[in-house]
């Protein structure tokens, strides 16, 4: 970006508002500090020093009102689904959802006999990126985040991207 080259000192940068906003958004996707099951352990590992989620601007926020993304990391029971819905509704726009792991994608191993498991979080809230795996490795979650950044990068203020 040239920031490190001290080009800001006596220069003006001209950018499209769309691009500037998108760049700002995708570089600081704060996530709700929220985990559900074994996927949450992988998510925490992704946040830890070895994989370092923070280098993409992802830091956990304790309040949904200060967050941009929510990572549904684990098995969603019906009881929890109502709570997740409430968390999601408290987040300010623009907001994004990463569904992490088989359970929150489609019910996972509980798809047939899990009487208490919601068969996919997309039955309750809209999902932007699905990360497959059981649980997904940190690399897979990082890939999912990069996909989400790609999506944000192509957004426009006038029309919403697919």
């Amino acid at each position: 970006m040239g920031i490190l080259d001290k080009q800001f000192d006596d220069n003006i940068i001209i950018a499209k508002v769309d691009d500037l906003f998108n760049w700002a958004r995708l570089s600081s996707l704060w996530q709700v500090g929220f985990g559900l099951a074994c996927c949450a352990i992988e998510m925490m590992a992704t946040s830890a020093s070895h994989y370092d989620f923070d280098r993409f601007g992802v830091i956990p926020r304790p309040s949904p009102r200060q967050a941009d993304i929510i990572i549904i990391s684990g098995t969603v029971t019906f009881k929890m689904a109502t709570r997740i819905k409430r968390l999601y509704e408290q987040m300010p726009d623009p907001k994004y959802v990463i569904s992490m792991g088989s359970c929150s994608n489609c019910g996972g191993p509980y798809w047939e006999h899990g009487y208490h498991v919601l068969k996919g979080i997309d039955r309750v809230i809209p999902v932007d990126v699905y990360v497959p795996g059981c649980p997904p490795r940190p690399e897979a979650l990082l890939e999912g985040l990069l996909k989400l950044q790609e999506k944000v990068r192509n957004e426009s203020m006038v029309k919403k991207s697919a």
Partner: protein, 174 residues
């Protein structure tokens, strides 16, 4: 340390009607009891000075599925037969163990609560009630413990359980 046979004969001496038989098997031989006398039998087992079963290691409900099964409107239902509760007991002083079993009819599964004898039975009994519908008489607080409080889909661990179509507007089946 007492063997299962010795424990059984002590029980039989005291509760002739309430204790049925000793089922011998290599691991965990069990004694079948009357579900409406199990609280008295439990108290005896805990307080008897040669037994002192002070530790309820586990309490679990089981659907025996030994009734007549018949499809009603394409859904398999079981009529008759029993639901059972198993009590795994241990004496921390004498280091002996025993298993009790009570069976109650599926249509009206009433079992006396043992919470007054072992307080740890409280949540175990709530779980058996929640998932199998076993009614524990004289339980201090018999509410659902795992399923949502407004769940009306029935008892999920019964062998003839069928998923409801929706819960609070969320589709339940895959």
């Amino acid at each position: 340390m007492k063997s299962a046979e010795e424990i059984f004969s002590l029980l039989k001496e005291k509760y002739n009607d309430g204790v049925m038989e000793l089922v011998k098997q290599p691991v965990d031989p069990y004694i079948t009891c009357d579900p409406l006398l199990i609280n008295h039998i439990s108290l005896f087992l805990m307080t008897h000075e040669e037994l002192l079963f002070d530790n309820l290691m586990n309490l679990s409900g089981v659907d025996d599925a030994n009734g007549k099964s018949a499809p009603v409107n394409g859904v398999n239902t079981i009529e008759g037969g029993t639901l059972s509760v198993y009590y795994h007991l241990e004496s921390t002083k004498f280091r002996h163990k025993i298993v009790l079993r009570v069976s109650a009819p599926r249509e009206n599964p009433e079992v006396e609560s043992v919470t007054l004898v072992w307080h740890s039975a409280d949540w175990h009994e709530r779980e058996a009630f929640d998932l199998l519908g076993i009614q524990f008489l004289n339980h201090p607080d018999l509410r659902r413990i795992l399923m949502p409080e407004d769940w009306e889909g029935g008892y999920p661990l019964r062998k003839d359980y069928a998923n409801p179509e929706f819960y609070r507007g969320m589709k339940v089946p895959y």
